[in-house]
Assembly symmetry: C2
Homo-oligomer: 608 residues x 2
Amino acid sequence: MFATIKRILIGRPLKSTELGEQKLNKKKALAILSSDALSSVAYGPEQILLVLVTVSMSAFWYSIPIAVGVLILLTALILSYRQIIFAYPHGGGAYVVSKENLGKYPGLIAGSSLLVDYILTVAVSVSAGTDAITSAFPGLHEYNVPIAVCFVILITILNLRGVTESASILAYPVYLFVLALFILIGVGLFDILSGGVSPERHAPIGTPVAGISLFLLLKAFASGSSALTGVEAISNAIPNFKTPAPNNASKTLMAMGILLAILFSGIVFLAYYYGVTPIEEATVVSQIAEQTFGRGFLYYAIQGTTALILVLAANTGYTAFPLLAVNLAKDKFIPRMFMIRGDRLGYSNGIIILAILSIVLIVAFHGKTEQLIPLYAVGVFLPFTLSQSGMMVKWMRQKPEGWVAKLLTNTIGAIISLIVTLMFFLTKFNQVWTVLVFLPLIILLFRKINKHYEAVGEQLRLTTCEPAIPIEGNVIILPVAGITHVVEHSLNYAKSLGANQIIAVYIPFEREDEAVFEEKWKKWGQEVRLVTLLSPYRSIIQPLMKFIDTVERKAKEANYQVTVIIPQFIPKKGWHHFLHNQTSFYIRARMLYRKDVIVTTVPYHLKK
Amino acid sequence: MFATIKRILIGRPLKSTELGEQKLNKKKALAILSSDALSSVAYGPEQILLVLVTVSMSAFWYSIPIAVGVLILLTALILSYRQIIFAYPHGGGAYVVSKENLGKYPGLIAGSSLLVDYILTVAVSVSAGTDAITSAFPGLHEYNVPIAVCFVILITILNLRGVTESASILAYPVYLFVLALFILIGVGLFDILSGGVSPERHAPIGTPVAGISLFLLLKAFASGSSALTGVEAISNAIPNFKTPAPNNASKTLMAMGILLAILFSGIVFLAYYYGVTPIEEATVVSQIAEQTFGRGFLYYAIQGTTALILVLAANTGYTAFPLLAVNLAKDKFIPRMFMIRGDRLGYSNGIIILAILSIVLIVAFHGKTEQLIPLYAVGVFLPFTLSQSGMMVKWMRQKPEGWVAKLLTNTIGAIISLIVTLMFFLTKFNQVWTVLVFLPLIILLFRKINKHYEAVGEQLRLTTCEPAIPIEGNVIILPVAGITHVVEHSLNYAKSLGANQIIAVYIPFEREDEAVFEEKWKKWGQEVRLVTLLSPYRSIIQPLMKFIDTVERKAKEANYQVTVIIPQFIPKKGWHHFLHNQTSFYIRARMLYRKDVIVTTVPYHLKK
């Protein structure tokens, strides 16, 4: 039944050779990989105004130079990641770049902070999208958490079905969102140029403002740069592109950068020109749309596509997280299971873990994940800084043709990213300090996992170790609970193995029982040696363990192998298990943890 | 660590031979087995007045004849159970008596309704006791449920330590309660005889009352007979008594009957003479105590011991439930595990199951288990009726000396019990209808369990079946995942067993991998045959299962046994398990459910 449900939800399994067909073309890739970045224009401009409004409304003109700063940062990031795409055509993004150029630990910092960040992407984006929907339908507001969880599950199923199929579904809302904002910005600019908007609604650029400070402007800049979260997604996902992957990825990245730049500057400019003040009841985009179109069809279209793209932004996390996990698993920093492709060729384990962790975050924060935004931004800008520093090192080492220009690009990017990261720590320490606690813990865990895998590999490799001790004979121990068909079957099996010695073991709780059983065995036991272990405390496992210890010690001297044969009932129906003592299960579990004892389970299938 | 905590709470394990020392003497048995019955005088008289008050206060004099009725019922029950004790000296009470004389199904009705009833005893008594305590300290009222749960856990631990030790602790409160009520009744009667109480406070016996009906009087009688719950406990627990067990049990039963009769009639009479009206704020006993002593030390002593004995009444359930469970398990109606004695020689599984189920009831009803009282009473009177009908049948069949008197005793008891049971169904149907749903379901379950055990016994018995098919040879299948020390070790073991055929199986996901491994095996494989099963859908279990199917079919023709050898990593630390695929676990589980395949687990202990 579980298999059938899985089939319906996920689709039929795909052969490994069908992998090529799952690759993305540019149009689909743009939709699937840029929804996170593009959706951030829904809150990025607002973040700038939220800082400036703490001074006065006349400070709003500063949003224009700040937006120019963000655009410069965006340009630097896009150019830098373009260089990364060509330098690392197999993907990996910040993790691979930092690891190769700066060393293991910077790589792990970048990798683990991105890993956590993708979880935050899903939680924050889905919550924000849900908020937008329940703002439109206030009756649903109390169901915020279950709605958000349903969205996560829905996106998870789409991703488990496979990358291409989910892309087809996800492409439309992204392009609709871009189209809707283009219309908004176009109509807004036309209104302004045709003189339909009074220029008195905003203070002119350059108006002196009392109380403004560099600290405040940097804080506003840092806040505004949260609109750039998500631009790294493409460079991580190069293996998902159709060949030639690097060229396609690079073109997609440029297209995304241009779209993001247009939407971001358009929204910032309109907000400034219209004199929009951030209020709690309506977002900045919503206010602009209302002033431009009134509360008509186009207003609702913009609100609707905004909500949708926010939910879909979560999908970026679903594309990037499993791929990054594969890279970390290949380097043996996280469990191997993240490298296994599922039925539909996606990395199912990564997808499922991401879904579970983001649902935990949504439930733990009751769907109010806005407080996580600064944390989320830090988790992006930390790897930005590291990967660009890595590229700086790379250019200085390798000095390819035109390396000075490349170095300059990455240096500018690195410095601005570093400033943004530091600004977050300086201005919003109480929201981002957890990074300083959790990142070291995660890296410590990754190191422990790595050490374990290395140690296992060491122990298994045939070339480096002495050959295994030869097995020169076998001793079989057969615990018996009575004289039944089960025991008969096990005894026949033990005899067929041609062991050097077979010992049947019986554990009576009372002396009378001991004598009775010994008598019975004499008649029935086919001359197999019987040992009885009286157990006055009614424990089966302890005396058996002690006995096996003794046998094992002797066997070892002769290089004999000890095998314990345990009969096990297999009832016909699952609930019947409750009706039988689970002794054989306990014995097997305890036994396997003892060195050099092999456990053989002889099933006895009950027919009724 | 778990073992140490267990030791501290439960005490050192006891040898089976120490069982005799755990038996009860009469004084301890009275305390341990009668707290349930005696504690019911705390609410029994009140139940009568609660019905009569619906007519008028002048109807209160009917409580005297009703009490006489209850005393007759009590006498009949005590005499009947005395006869049962001698007729069934090995205990078993209503279940055994009904089963032997009336047949399997009446026995199961009695047994299962008592089994459920003991759970209700624990839940109802502990909740009522907790209520009494939190009424005295209203600040604790909101913690009713956790306090009640703590009491259950405490009583459970006492019972897991063993019967005698818990009896020593429990004896004092019971005797204190009896002493306190004796003083109350004595002082009250002295006051009345010395003329200290005005006789005008009550209507004289025989006053005509408007609106009284036979139905109402029977309802009051049924309610009042809830004071008799618990009198069957002694007859179930005969094996717990010191020898001569039946004599000791019979004397204890008589003592309990006399105590119960005195306390019950004393309370009813004082309530009538004082003209006490049941109110919500104070129980009837509390009102009598207040009028007799004022709110002084003796008042609080009575309230305190009442609260304590109610909590301890739960202990009756702990004594009776496991013993009844043993009887049902011996007859193969409930899982065998209820027959196993724990470290301290108590039937730990029964004790623990009882604790869990009563905690579930307490939590589910938020500690307000008063609504369960009628259900609880029905669960007692149904088996009363059945066991006494059983005794009637027994006397009529066996006709021992003086059987007519014995038959008469039991007949009276049976008829009154039946009337009480029917009255509950007639007057409180909305509170007791669940019995009609759950009892049949429980009995159905018991029957299914019984059928399963009978079928298993049938299959295992050597005499009734054909001899096992001889094993004339062995085929060993060895799944390999690479060429490592683990595989080397398993291969050596397989070879040492002298099987007729060893087949190594490798499952590649891609064609290239297949060829590479075949090449490697040629050099390394010690001439063991290798089969590769290409798995394009990346499943390990499915192709392996299919292959084993084929091998098994061939092997069967030659009476060969198929064994699958599965290597298993045993990491040094528990958390390392998460770092390895659990393939070997899945293979073993799937394998064992297939007929005739034996699974051998070769542990490979990682050293780091």
